[in-house]
């Protein structure tokens, strides 16, 4: 069982969050953090558990490093019915487009058949909390509810039941 933390970033904040999630998980699972810029949708289609971390830029758009991935995802439209994922978004509630980036990605994965596990986590840059701490708290909550099965690779089965 390998958990991929995949992130889309512009300033590097989402990468930092991904690094923190890896650190929180690495005692219990094989876990890697990868930039969406270097990630192929074909890899997502493998039966794995993926944690998606993404910021939001411009007019509520995806961050730069996620855009080519999203374009390939649309073009290839792989069957993701075997995939379970969880989403953590970064944004700034100062803007109306708060956290749109992570939503765009999550919506697309679901559209392709993937199952989203638990509540989407969010960090607000205007909120004063550390994004990594918020993300690790969110992950603990998620694993508290679904953890044993995620680790056993049965998350998809549970989420579907």
């Amino acid at each position: 069982m390998t958990i991929h933390v995949i992130y889309g970033t512009e300033t590097g904040n989402a990468e930092m969050v991904a690094d923190d999630l890896v650190e929180a998980l690495e005692h219990d699972a094989t876990v890697t953090a990868r930039d969406l810029a270097d990630f192929d949708p074909a890899e997502v289609a493998e039966r794995d558990f993926v944690i998606l971390v993404s910021s939001t830029y411009g007019e509520g758009e995806l961050p730069n490093s996620a855009q080519p991935f999203f374009a390939r995802l649309e073009a290839q439209a792989p069957d993701l019915s075997g995939l379970t994922f969880a989403t953590f978004g970064l944004g700034d509630s100062f803007y109306e487009t708060f956290n749109h980036g992570s939503r765009i990605l999550a919506d697309k994965l679901r559209e392709l058949g993937a199952t989203e596990l638990g509540e989407r986590g969010v960090h607000d840059a205007s909120g004063g909390e550390l994004p990594g701490e918020v993300a690790v708290e969110w992950l603990k909550g998620l694993l508290g509810a679904h953890g044993a099965r995620v680790m056993a690779g049965e998350a998809a089965a549970e989420a579907a039941s």
Binding site: E10, T11, D92
Partner: protein, 429 residues
């Protein structure tokens, strides 16, 4: 392969991103960032508007470099003043300059040095309590003209016209606000060379203006429809301008706040006045329009940044880097210093990563390694340097002294910053 000792000059976003990228390259090697101030983060602290704390949040990522990733911070060390570039290059295998471009680009037209002409960068530093700008008490009068419609121009427009109550939750100090806004402005004109569609600001910046109470927005000429352009960003920008224009029609009778007038397609020709600014004249380029003359008590230039720091190596005759950021063997530059004053924080991250890759590829080819780093600097430089713990003490004081409704109160006085940073003597006897 042996790892080099690395010094980065400038603790702004470009310098911090470079350190981050180099640390990923070499997990163990000595990497130090040197800054002339005892506080890090450069333009994130002193250039990003004080009412955009979300944008400043990137510093949490940078702090981790010093707290966890073993990057050294040596403040209060100015290249040219406390340390010669040659001395730095003797001590470190690799030196990278990330000192940015701090000077406001001048208009270069008659009258651009009249009293009453201010640079947007200097004004933003003043509003961010930069120690160098404490002498700046701009006299903006009742009518100011902002030249330049990039995000920096819009920042200044907003900071000068936003109702005081709306600064709740920001980092703007009451003192800085009072220094720049002794009297409320009745009217602000903002003039750009581009058309409305091609204006250099982001739509999100314009929509932020639209959310502020008490302002009214005026457009001298009809705006093109958002559908008139294929370009997505231009369409969003035009839509945002339309929202401002419509808002004015709805509420202009009740508005007693600042009147904001947008003008597109005008090139500045002369700042007019005897003892100080009285008006600005613009021409319409090839449009054949009659020149535009705007009465003004003051002019704020927001047309970009330039280097004029005589303390920097080479001064105005500084060697131009090649397109990969090389200045000389073992000497590099990154960020605005390399590419010019364009690009936001994320673009400088990309830039730093590219330069880090070049540094790694060049390593050892022209210059043998083995220099020890900070300990090999002249004793006087080592003695005066402040450290990251000193910055954390400053940060704690600034948070503790936050006035009501503010996140912190930045310390504008360099002597006090140094006193706090040096509370535990660093490196000295």
């Amino acid at each position: 392969m042996t790892a080099p000792s690395i010094a980065i000059v400038g603790a702004g976003p470009s310098g911090c991103y470079l350190a981050q990228a180099l640390r990923k390259q070499w997990a163990e090697t000595r990497i130090d960032i040197i800054d002339r101030l005892p506080v890090p983060f450069g333009l994130v602290r002193y250039g990003v508007a004080p009412d955009h704390p979300g944008t400043k949040a990137v510093t949490r990522q940078f702090e981790r470099l010093f707290e966890r990733d073993g990057i050294g911070f040596h403040g209060n060390l100015a290249l040219g003043r406390d340390l010669a570039l040659d001395e730095l290059r003797e001590a470190y295998d690799v030196v990278a300059l990330a000192t940015g471009l701090a000077a406001d680009r001048r208009l270069g037209i008659p009258g651009d040095d009249l009293p009453g002409v201010y640079g947007a960068g200097a004004l933003t530093r003043r509003l961010n309590d930069h120690p160098d700008e404490q002498g700046l008490r701009p006299d903006l009068g009742r009518r100011a003209v902002i030249i330049g419609q990039g995000n920096v121009g819009i920042d200044v427009l907003r900071l000068l016209s936003k109702p005081e109550a709306a600064f709740e939750g920001s980092e703007l100090s009451p003192e800085a606000l009072a220094a720049c806004r002794a009297k409320p402005l009745a009217r602000l004109d903002i003039v750009g060379r581009s058309s409305a569609a091609e204006a250099k600001c982001d739509a999100a910046m314009l929509r932020e203006l639209g959310r502020l109470a008490g302002l009214s927005f005026h457009f001298a000429a009809p705006l093109p429809a958002p559908e008139s352009t294929e370009d997505k960003a231009a369409g969003q920008r035009l839509a945002a301008f339309h929202e401002l224009a419509e808002r004015h029609t709805e509420r202009h009778t009740e508005s007693d706040g600042c009147q904001i007038h947008f003008h597109f397609g005008w090139t500045p020709e002369a700042v007019l006045g005897e003892a100080r600014v009285g008006a600005v004249r613009f021409h319409g380029g090839e449009s054949g329009q009659e020149p535009l003359e705007l009465a003004a008590d003051s002019v704020i230039t927001a047309i970009g940044f330039a280097q004029h720091d005589p303390d920097l190596p080479g001064g105005p005759e500084a060697p131009r880097p090649d397109d990969q950021g090389r200045l000389a063997p073992g000497l590099y530059c990154t960020g605005w210093l390399r590419r010019g004053p364009r690009g936001t924080i994320p673009e400088n991250r990309q830039d730093a990563r590219a330069v880090a890759a070049i540094i790694a590829a060049d390593l050892g080819a022209e210059r043998p390694l083995g220099r020890p780093g900070f300990a090999a600097l002249p004793a006087a430089a080592i003695a005066r340097a402040t450290d990251f713990a000193g910055w954390k003490r400053i940060q704690a004081v600034e948070a503790a002294e936050a006035p009501a409704g503010r996140l912190c109160r930045r310390i504008p006085d360099l002597a006090r910053l140094l006193e706090i940073a040096q509370a535990t003597p660093v490196g000295g006897p």
